[in-house]
């Protein structure tokens, strides 16, 4: 009996010792935060990860909010109904401090910034061109994220450089509670950062990635936004003269956005989406288009005022980016009016004019790689800057270049002596920017940074008496450039978490 007892005690303690383990389990879906950045390959993967942040995850992804909040508050679009999606509030100016899309941008941008800070902190420059390139790309992405933040959450630079900007985050310290820097501090940071990035990036990277030209392109836009016109022209020229890009051909223009980045000679930088990134109804294109088989919400249409502008020249190839939906009977056959013409279908009484700039990449209705920078914008940046410097001829030349590419010629072109009823050359340029860059998240900023009023005198659900600036009798919504809702509220959660943050009025 004694022996047995001993044996059992031995067995039990023995097993205890054997199993009394360190319980060390590591996750399978990645690497430790230190180990991940130890090699060049790790830095490369982390950089791809940072690009991925621009795509974003899930239905309410970063790029979706970026292109909706950048475009919907302007006059190119008309919403045909109400929706639970906070894009509704961006569209109708009924902002709330807890809009999910504003949170997506705010958090998404700082997540991207954190990722870039980790790489920039970890990698020493001057070791190899490849490493320098990666640091440059990260610096560019860091600047781009700050640029998104400052344009959405701070008033235009041209209105008040000393106004409240956004926190500038250049380290990976999670504890820091940063206050908002001023707008000019943020823009100065952007300029320095992008100049650095341009110096570091010396490899020729395809247009799904950052490169020296992407830095120059952004610098051109940023200087334009700052009212620094010479610099805007200088950087536009550097891109134009780089020889890397050429304007997309006129006769094929409607297919511009159907080509993947690498096949498009005009795109300078676009957020590459593969089929893996296809978010179905969550894609940017979903709100603009419903495919014949029903994919996509198809609730946001080209506005009547945009269509009227485009219709001034029926031969304008940019009509190819719009497509009406026609009434059909239950068997799918078109219904015609008394003249035998098809009838444009209506949703809630609003004519259905689809926008096709975010559909049919690689023939997939819901897929697109939204364009951040393209050559046309460089010409139009240069045109706007020249117009402001009173170099009217140069401005008109660039506008005409873009119009010719759109298939316009002869009378459809401007000359300094024939502004076709437009008051100023700047008006001509801004109108051309509207026509060319419509739906690409430019228009809102172009209006307000130039201290102009937004006027939406066309049908759409923005015409509701409870929305700001609406006059129901005149059927218009007017937002003045000094209106507080030209910028979004900082998400109220963030104000709670960081007492140093000041909310927008």
């Amino acid at each position: 009996m004694k022996n047995l007892q001993k044996r059992i005690i031995l067995i039990v303690t023995g097993t205890l010792l054997l199993i009394g383990c360190d319980l060390n389990n590591a996750p399978y879906d990645g690497q430790g935060e230190e180990a991940a950045l130890e090699s060049f390959e790790g830095i490369q993967a982390a950089t791809y990860g940072n690009y991925h942040r621009l795509v974003g995850d899930g239905y309410y992804s970063y790029n979706r909010s970026l292109f909706q909040m950048g475009e919907y508050p302007a006059d190119n679009v008309s919403l045909s109904g109400t929706t639970t999606d906070p894009l509704f509030l961006a569209y109708n100016y009924n902002h709330t401090p807890n809009m999910g899309n504003a949170s997506t941008i705010w958090s998404g941008a700082y997540q991207l910034i954190y990722g870039t800070n980790r790489v920039i902190e970890e990698v020493e420059t001057g070791q190899s061109a490849e490493q320098d390139q990666l640091v440059g790309e990260n610096k560019l992405l860091r600047a781009l994220a700050h640029f998104h933040l400052v344009t959405f959450f701070a008033r235009p630079y041209t209105q008040d450089p000393n106004g409240l900007g956004v926190p500038i985050k250049t380290n990976s310290d999670p504890e820091e509670l940063l206050p908002r820097s001023s707008v000019s501090e943020v823009y100065d940071f952007l300029v320095n950062e992008l100049e650095d990035a341009a110096d570091l990036m010396n490899l020729e990277k395809p247009n799904s990635y950052a490169s020296k030209e992407v830095a120059y392109g952004l610098l051109s836009r940023i200087h334009l936004y700052m009212g620094e016109n010479e610099e805007a022209i200088d950087y536009a020229n550097r891109v134009i003269n780089s020889g890397r890009y050429e304007l997309f051909s006129s006769d094929n223009l409607e297919n511009y956005f159907r080509l993947p980045n690498e096949s498009n000679e005009e795109t300078i930088f676009a957020i590459r989406h593969t089929q893996d990134d296809d978010k179905g109804y969550g894609n940017i294109g979903s709100m603009y288009y419903t495919s014949p088989s029903g994919m996509g919400w198809g609730e946001m249409y080209a506005s009547e005022s945009y269509r009227n502008l485009l219709d001034e020249y029926p031969e304008d190839e940019r009509h190819g980016f719009l497509e009406p939906r026609y009434e059909t009977d239950d068997n799918g056959n078109p219904i015609t009016d008394d003249n035998g013409d098809p009838i444009v279908a209506k949703r809630n009484g609003y004519p259905v004019w689809y926008v096709l700039k975010f559909s049919y990449q690689e023939d997939i209705a819901s897929l697109s790689s939204p364009v951040i920078l393209r050559l046309s914008e460089m010409y139009l940046n240069r045109a706007e800057a020249n117009a402001k410097l009173d170099n009217d001829q140069d401005a008109i030349d660039d506008v005409n270049l873009i119009r010719q590419r759109a298939g316009l010629s002869g009378d459809a072109l401007y000359s300094t002596g024939d502004l076709k009823g437009r008051d100023t050359v700047l008006d001509v340029v801004l109108e051309e920017r509207r026509l060319e860059l419509a739906f690409e998240a430019h228009r809102k900023f172009d209006i307000f940074r130039n201290d102009r009023e937004l006027e939406r005198d066309y049908p759409g659900t923005h015409l509701n008496p409870s929305n700001p600036g609406v006059n129901m009798e005149e059927e218009t919504q007017v937002i003045a450039p000094d209106h507080p809702r030209v910028v979004f509220f900082i998400p109220e959660n963030e104000i709670t978490l960081n007492p140093n943050l000041e909310q927008n009025p």
Binding site: V12, L23, Y110, S293, T328
Partner: protein
């Protein structure tokens, strides 16, 4: 004191062999036969020498033999029978007739590691036997508990077959970490929350459920026991029996609509007219589609169970097979399950017992692959589902009016979403006696769980059109292994009795899975191999380990004073390298006052006990790798593998600890009234908290050990035998009050949780929204409250505004009920019995979020709306004192944005079950060779009394949010149970 159980089998399923030992001189050999009152032999009866605690059990013929002191006393005890004590007085033969005890079963409580007579218990437990458990018909064992035990609060979030309600024992003390109780099956930890799916257990195999609530009961489970423990015991044969039981249940289920109604064509027309819909067309009135009728249908439920249980003194087994099939009330929603179990125990020799169990189930789920549920609430009555020729419209027609352009009937033709699960659990337990007072046991269980799901989006449907048809397959596998190895001791020293256990446990859980989507597939094909190309592929692996050492010592003096102390050391791989191990302990005591001499003066008192305990337990209910700083490689950019930082390291992360004190009193008087009450306080410290970080940190949150939450409560259980005799009436009643308060948080910072906010000094589930102030009688505009605060944060002025952004967010209610409970009345007359069971919940606020859509004052003209409740009214003209703002086409100043407007009282009283059954008398049955025959008719959830405006006031324990809910079903069932 006749019912007093001295020392029931120590462990698990039951028979512990205690060897006779020649300890004292002058022993005599005693033998005899034990029979029941009918004269049938009783095998497996415990025969113990009172003085030494040693003894034996009767053999197959009910006979026993042992050596005992000639002046000793023998104690005969057997589950289900009254215990008898007989003095030996030198005799060599003692035959005993044991009297059956109906109450006895209730008195035996399975505590997980051990089994205790009810009167030995120093802790707070609630025990429910099979009969009370199985009144409702469900595939889910958890659902059986609703309303039946004090301290247990439940709320279901879906009425879909097989869905599991949320369960909280004595409130939730954790914020980020899970609050699900720990499940223990047949003495071994099975898991909690996501790690363990209680759906895998066939409810018909359950013998009893014990809920362990206070620290003295739970701390032996140290790790993961802070949310309480639910101990489930499966059925086992009794020695000397050979029974076959067959039961059949058939029934129908219908959705319970509650107070909810969607508008019909004319009602919706009137509403659109009121809001000035510019597109309104009176031809729409020609159409009146009831989308709810299209989405819901009567479901059929059927269940068949056969079980065989038999055994002798050495070997016993219980075998069961079960088929369960329930159609949901939503169309195309069905659960089908086959399950089987073999419980086998065998006494290998005098020293060695083997207890084994093997169970498995196969579950097949058909899920509705469309938005039928959502659309049933929101589609317009003006859209017709069918064309004139009877074919189904897509919803994408240019003249479709509803805002989502969707007719769920269309994709339902082509798309499917199915899943199936195989689950196997096997356990082996060995018990080896070293001395009559000491034995070792080793319990080992392995489980394997295979889950497969497949779904498709046919190319003819909008979802499948993009990629010319899609097919998704996923495989998930998980396994777990647990080994529990213990030494048990039990010895009496005169009036002193000591027992204890010590040992260690190791648990490992593992899971992996893959999923893939292929695109380009012809209709009606359903394997990935026929897709043209892959779209996505994914996969994962997880593992976690626990290691624990545990010990417990129990003492009692004269069966009157009881004390328990326990200690447990737990380590988990989920915590940081510096802090993996946690220590947990408890101390408890009870005084069985009714065992004292002086109490004999009070004839009415049958039992009086005072209990008290204090102790700690832990919670590890977080993800497997929360301490690990991670770059996740789960993303790509332009087809290149990418890595994103997703977590900051926290090497100090450790156990969340719950400290709980409990005081209770149990009282039985007049042999008719049983009363039990408990007061407790549980404080969870070092909460595992996802501390929300400002966005500039780069991460949304980091899991840290900060903060504490306190739950205090009061529980009350009462069982009365109101009328005894041919006509019997008994009542069981329980009620629980729990008060929850967040004591402190990370630097006092509030935690935002959707429409709730976690704040120091408030209930954990406090609604924090703009406060609805009704409708401006002049304009019909919505009004909210604006608070003006001074520098100290005190409110100095209250005003109203019709600007949503200006309104002040503030606490406006809680999702936590003031009290909940259940009441059962059982009436019987001869073989006929009527059983009614009500559950109730009072004082919780439910956020009826779906009203943002279907009670939205014109904000969603493209959605159908709910019919306003009787006491609601719509503002129409100046001066109207209305509950609802003016309806404005396109919305009235964010009137439907989240606010306390949609917060409703979630109190309800529900007739959860009523059943009428008839037991044929054994005399009649025996002529036909039947042992028992019972027929019954039963109704589940037939009536609910509530003011809630939705279909069903149950909205989940913590979220408290009712969306477009899948309502619970009302069931009418008929059954027959035959015993052979």
């Amino acid at each position: 004191m006749m019912k007093w159980i001295h020392n029931i089998n120590l462990l698990g399923l039951g028979v512990l062999v205690l060897l006779p030992m020649s300890l004292i001189a002058q022993d005599v050999s005693v033998s005899g036969k034990v029979t029941d009152s009918a004269g049938d032999a009783l095998p497996g009866v415990n025969v113990l020498i009172d003085e030494s605690g040693s003894g034996t059990i009767t053999n197959n013929e009910g006979e026993y033999q042992l050596e005992a002191p000639s002046d000793g006393t023998l104690v005969f005890s057997y589950v289900g029978f009254e215990q008898q004590r007989i003095a030996i007085n030198g005799s060599n033969t003692i035959d005993v007739v044991l009297q059956e005890s109906t109450a006895e079963l209730d008195d035996l409580v399975v505590m997980g590691y051990s089994e205790r007579g009810l009167r030995e218990i120093s802790s707070s437990v609630a025990s429910i036997d099979a009969e009370d458990l199985q009144d409702v018909t469900t595939s889910n064992t958890t659902s059986l508990l609703q309303g039946k035990a004090s301290g247990v609060y439940m709320s279901s979030t879906s009425g879909s077959p097989g869905s599991t309600p949320e369960v909280r024992i004595r409130g939730a003390g954790s914020i980020t970490a899970g609050s699900d109780p720990l499940y223990v099956i047949d003495g071994v930890i099975a898991g909690s929350g996501g790690a363990f799916d209680v759906n895998m257990l066939n409810p018909r195999d359950v013998e009893s459920v014990t809920v362990l609530k206070d620290a003295s009961a739970t701390s032996l489970y140290g790790s993961r026991a802070s949310n309480g423990v639910i101990v489930i015991t499966t059925k086992q044969a009794k020695p000397g029996t050979s029974n076959i039981d067959i039961s059949t249940t058939l029934g129908v289920s219908n959705r319970s609509n509650g107070n909810f109604e969607v508008m019909n064509s004319a009602q919706n027309y009137e509403y659109h007219d009121l809001m000035g819909d510019p597109n309104l067309d009176n031809s729409w009135l020609d159409r009146d589609t009831d989308w709810q009728d299209l989405a819901f249908d009567q479901g059929v439920l059927q269940e068949y169970q056969v079980s065989v249980s038999a055994g002798n003194d050495r070997t016993r087994y219980y075998i069961s097979g079960n088929y369960f099939n329930e159609e949901g009330t939503l169309i195309s929603d069905e659960l089908e399950r086959f399950s089987g179990r073999l419980n086998l125990t065998h006494q290998v020799n005098d020293r060695f017992n083997l207890i084994t169990s093997l169970s498995g189930s196969y579950t097949d789920n058909v899920n509705n692959p469309t938005g039928a549920l959502y659309q049933s609430y929101n589609n317009l009555p003006w859209d017709e589902p069918y064309r004139e020729d009877g074919s189904i419209r897509t919803g994408n027609e240019s003249n479709w009016l509803g805002r989502d352009n969707s007719n769920f009937l269309y994709p339902l033709q082509y798309n499917a979403s199915n899943s199936r699960r195989h689950y196997i659990a096997g356990s082996v337990r060995g018990e080896f006696n070293i001395f009559d007072w000491l034995y070792v046991s080793s319990t080992n269980r392995a489980t394997i769980n295979n889950y497969r799901a497949e779904s498709n989006a046919d190319r003819r449907t909008s979802a499948g059109s993009t990629n010319n048809g899609e097919l998704n397959n996923s495989y998930d596998y998980s396994s777990s292994f647990i080994s529990s190895n213990l030494i048990h001791a039990n010895r009496d020293f005169g009036d002193h009795s000591l027992s204890g256990l010590a040992g260690f446990e190791y648990q490992r859980s593992y899971s992996d899975g893959i999923n893939g989507t292929g695109i380009g597939i012809e209709p009606n094909l359903e394997i990935l191999n026929v897709t043209a190309e892959p779209l996505t592929i994914g996969g994962y692996k997880y593992e976690s380990e626990f290691f624990s050492a545990l010990s417990q010592l129990e003492y009692n003096y004269r069966d009157t004073y009881f004390g328990t102390i326990s200690y447990r050391l737990d380590g988990s791989s989920r915590f940081g390298v510096d802090n993996r191990y946690g220590n947990f302990y408890s101390i408890g005591g009870s005084w069985l006052v009714s065992n004292e001499e002086f109490i004999n003066n009070f004839e009415a008192i049958d039992l009086l006990r005072i209990r008290g305990s204090y102790g700690t337990s832990g919670n590890a209910g977080i993800g497997n790798y929360e301490h690990f700083g991670l770059y996740s490689y789960t993303v790509q950019y332009a087809g290149n593998p990418g890595a994103v930082p997703t977590r900051i390291a926290n090497p100090e992360l450790t156990w969340e600890i719950a400290k709980q004190a409990n005081i209770g009193i149990d009282l039985e008087i007049f042999e008719r009234i049983e009363f039990s009450t408990d007061i407790y306080q549980q404080t969870n410290d070092d909460l595992l908290l996802a501390v929300v970080l400002p966005a500039t940190a780069g991460f949304s949150s980091r899991t840290e050990n900060v903060g504490s939450v306190r739950n205090r409560g009061f529980e009350f259980e009462l069982t009365t035998q109101n009328i005894l005799g041919d006509f019997n009436w008994t009542t069981d009643f329980n009620i629980s009050f729990n008060n929850n308060e967040v004591i402190n948080l990370h630097e006092g910072e509030d935690i935002l949780a959707g429409n709730q906010r976690i704040m120091e000094g408030y209930d954990k589930n406090t609604w924090y929204m703009r406060k609805w102030m009704g409708v401006d009688p002049e304009t019909g505009a919505p009004l909210w409250e604006v608070l003006t605060r001074d520098d100290d944060g005190d409110v100095v002025d209250r005003d109203v505004t019709n600007n949503y952004s200006e309104a002040t967010q503030q606490p406006v209610g809680t999702a936590t009920p003031d009290f909940s409970g259940g009441i059962r009345n059982r009436f019987s007359y001869k073989g006929l019995s009527l059983n009614t069971f009500f559950t109730f919940t009072y004082g919780n606020d439910v956020y009826h979020s779906a009203r943002q859509l279907f009670d939205s004052d014109g904000a969603y003209p493209g959605y159908n709306q709910m019919v306003l409740k009787d006491d609601w009214s719509r503002w129409q003209q100046s001066g109207d004192d209305a509950t609802h703002p003016r309806a404005v086409y396109g919305g009235n100043q964010n009137s439907n944005s989240p606010s306390s407007r949609y917060l409703e009282d979630g109190s309800y009283l529900r007739l959860q079950n009523i059943s009428l059954s008839y037991n044929l008398s054994p005399d009649v049955l025996s002529q036909f060779g039947f042992r028992t025959l019972r027929v019954f008719a039963s109704g589940d959830n037939l009536v609910t009394f509530t003011g809630f405006s939705g279909m069903d006031p149950e909205a989940g324990v913590e979220s408290g949010t009712a969306g477009t809910k899948y309502p619970i079903s009302r069931k009418l069932l008929f059954g027959i149970e035959v015993g052979l």
